[in-house]
């Protein structure tokens, strides 16, 4: 079979196996991963949302509590009472003792004058008039005001909560400064992981708390603008080439928005691990499939080649045997054609001989010459007869049969065929045939073909001047016959010894040998229940040994 065709077939099988195995594997992997990824991402989003809501709740609670404290304080005291700074101081201390978030406390009348003040900046703040301040106007308008965070005189981030109280026909305002440390603390609890961030922005996208990474306090954060957020949202956003997961939720008390930022690669680590694992397993699977496909295909190809070889041998045996059958018929035809005239000549010679016995001829002076001539004719007719009979028996033997076979006789006949060729090449064929060789049941024509092949090979190997020795023996030990055919040829190189029975192996020139002779011989001997071995050494000639069962 052609190499290119085999190669193509090899590729086809491998590719088919690989494709049909890998495609389902990939589909399975992709679907599984997608499902896992979707549910995991959903879980992460959910977690972030929960975290945001939780922090928002805490922030709102904190602010609401401060507002409620101030409202309670303002509502339960008259302005006159709180105007008294000693009293205010006492109240401040009580409040401060429980929640350390208050920095100062002040009471302002509706004209914006500071009536009383408790706190560290008494001298600065006591004389200030707030009438034109935005926050003052806002609290006068809405009753409760919570400011954005600012640094103020102390350079400490804080914010103001102010509540307005209506007492009779006058209004006054209770104002407290709150340290935003508490806010920072609440927000910080949402800064998770190594790269997670959380902060509060106001309506103008100004940072109200100090983020971990996203910029300094009171400036725009280095994140997208979430200032307009009105409902909780979770989004994955690529910003400045960085992919982040953002959660944003507005606070209730103030127009602030809590923003939580997470690094998805951090949060998705288990997912990534799953991805790598799936990828690894998939890759290993693909590798295994390819390896399996290659191995399976290789053994398949070997099988195919072996079958192809076997088929070639059996095909050739069929051709060979039909050739031999035709040859046999031809031989029989020739023999028959010759036998008839030979018979006539024989009869005529016999008749002359008969006549020569009659006395009148006996007196002829050439009588002896006649008699000699007739005898010679008979002798040569006999010789010709032997040849035609051998031809006939050769033809008959080409039909496959099981019969009683005298190996020595078969060998003798085979040698007869080759003797001329051998003599021409000055090759001496010697025989050492055991007389006690039992007759065996076998196929003499097939055996003859085997012997012909081997002796012919021997003659070819020797070329000119040499000797072929044929030895037969009966081995009582295992009830076998051995036939050894030895030639004085150049021998067979060691590396070729185990190849010589392979089909198509030949050392003869292209066109001279089919490379099938020994292979066919080998299978014939095997079929007849025997064994064929070869021993050879370079320069020492070769010996073929055939063992046949005697039974």
């Amino acid at each position: 079979m052609e190499k290119a065709y085999l190669k193509k077939l090899w590729w086809e099988i491998v590719i088919t196996i690989v494709i049909f195995s890998i495609v389902p594997l990939l589909v399975l992997g992709a679907v599984g991963y997608r499902q896992f990824s979707a549910s995991y991402t959903a879980k992460i989003t959910e977690n972030l949302k929960t975290l945001a809501e939780n922090r928002q709740g805490a922030l709102d609670l904190f602010l609401e509590e401060r507002v409620a404290q101030l409202v309670t304080l303002a509502g339960t005291h008259s302005l006159d009472r709180l105007k008294n700074e000693d009293y205010l101081n006492k109240v401040f201390n009580i409040i401060e003792s429980r929640s350390r978030s208050y920095m100062d406390l002040g009471v302002i009348d509706q004209e914006g004058h500071h009536l009383s003040y408790v706190g560290p900046y008494y001298s600065i703040l006591k004389g200030v008039n707030y009438k034109n301040e935005d926050w003052f106007n806002a609290v006068m308008a809405s009753g409760i005001y919570v400011s954005d965070v600012f640094l103020g005189f102390r350079k400490v981030p804080h914010f103001i909560i102010a509540v307005m109280v209506r007492e009779g026909n006058r209004n006054w305002v209770l104002r407290a400064t709150i340290d935003s440390d508490i806010l920072e603390n609440i927000v910080r609890a949402a800064q998770i992981g190594k790269r997670g961030d959380a902060f509060i922005i106001n309506g103008n996208n100004i940072l109200q708390t100090t983020p971990r990474f996203s910029g300094p306090l009171l400036e725009h954060p280095t994140t997208p603008d979430f200032a307009a957020t009105v409902a909780p949202l979770v989004e994955e956003i690529t910003f400045d080439g960085e992919e982040s997961l953002f959660g944003a939720i507005p606070l209730k008390i103030k127009k602030w928005v809590l923003v939580i930022k997470e690094d998805p690669t951090e949060q998705l680590t288990p997912l990534l691990r799953a991805r790598y694992l799936a990828g690894g397993i998939g890759l290993a699977g693909i590798l295994l499939i390819i390896l399996g496909a290659v191995f399976a295909t290789r053994s398949l190809m070997n099988e195919l080649q072996a079958m192809e070889r076997k088929k070639a041998v059996s095909d050739d045996m069929v051709v060979q045997s039909s050739k031999m059958a035709a040859l046999g018929k031809m031989a029989a035809g020739i023999a028959h054609g010759i036998n008839n005239p030979l018979a006539v000549i024989g009869e005529k010679a016999g008749w002359i001989k008969d006549l020569l016995r009659k006395e009148d001829v006996a007196q002829s002076k050439n009588f002896q010459e006649f008699a000699d001539a007739v005898n010679k004719i008979e002798f040569h007719i006999n010789r010709a007869k032997k040849i035609t009979h051998r031809l006939l028996s050769f033809g008959r033997r080409l039909e496959p049969v099981t019969e009683k076979v005298h190996i020595n006789r078969v060998l003798d006949e085979t040698i007869d065929f080759l003797e001329n060729e051998a003599r021409y090449r000055n090759i001496d064929i010697q025989t050492d045939l055991a007389a006690d060789l039992p007759t065996i049941t076998s196929d003499s024509s097939q055996l003859q073909q085997v012997f012909l092949n081997i002796i012919n090979n021997g003659i070819d190997a020797i070329g000119k001047n040499g000797r072929i020795t044929i030895k037969t023996k009966y081995i009582a030990k295992n009830d076998r016959l051995s036939i050894e055919i030895n030639d004085t040829g150049p021998g067979i190189p060691k590396e070729l010894l185990d190849k010589i029975f392979d089909p198509f192996f030949t050392t003869k020139e292209v066109g001279k040998g089919t490379g099938l002779g020994l292979s066919i011989s080998y299978s014939i001997v095997e079929k007849l229940g025997g064994r064929m071995l070869v021993a050879s050494e370079e320069g020492q000639g070769s010996t073929f040994a055939i063992y046949l069962p005697a039974g």
């Binding site: 028959h336 036998n339 008839n340 018979a343 006539v344 024989g346 016999g350 008969d354 009979h389 028996s393």
Partner: protein, 129 residues
């Protein structure tokens, strides 16, 4: 040795003529015919002990002629003569009742021996009947 009657059938005229002459020379009553049909006609009109039949003849061949002879006169012994060494036709002939078969070219002495044996068998068979 009794003089017995022999019929030789062979399409090879030269062979037939000579063998008939040689057998007559050996004191046998010999008739030669060139075909199977002629042989069958002859055994109807003449008493014959042994028939020598060539297997391959044009028209009725040796095997068919043998069958007919055995039908008509089962006691006549037949020797098959063949230039073709097919063992099958020889064996077939034997199965059909031929006494033996010989291959051409055959030395006359050998053929004579066979004919005598055949004749002896014929006598034996007749004696039994």
């Amino acid at each position: 040795m009794d003089k017995f009657r022999v019929l030789v059938a062979d399409d090879e005229v030269d062979f037939l003529e000579t063998i008939v002459k040689r057998l007559q020379d050996r004191n046998l009553e010999v008739t030669g015919v060139e075909s199977g049909e002629a042989a069958l006609q002859l055994i109807d009109s003449q008493e014959v002990d042994v028939v020598v039949l060539d297997v391959r003849m044009p028209g009725l061949d040796g095997i068919d002629t043998l069958k007919e002879i055995k039908k008509k006169k089962p006691l006549i012994e037949v020797i098959m003569l063949t230039g073709h060494a097919s063992v099958e036709s020889g064996i077939q002939g034997m199965q059909l009742g031929a006494f033996d078969y010989v291959m051409k070219p055959v030395p006359l002495d050998e053929l004579l021996d066979k004919m005598r044996q055949a004749y002896e068998r014929k006598l034996l068979q007749e004696g039994r009947i």
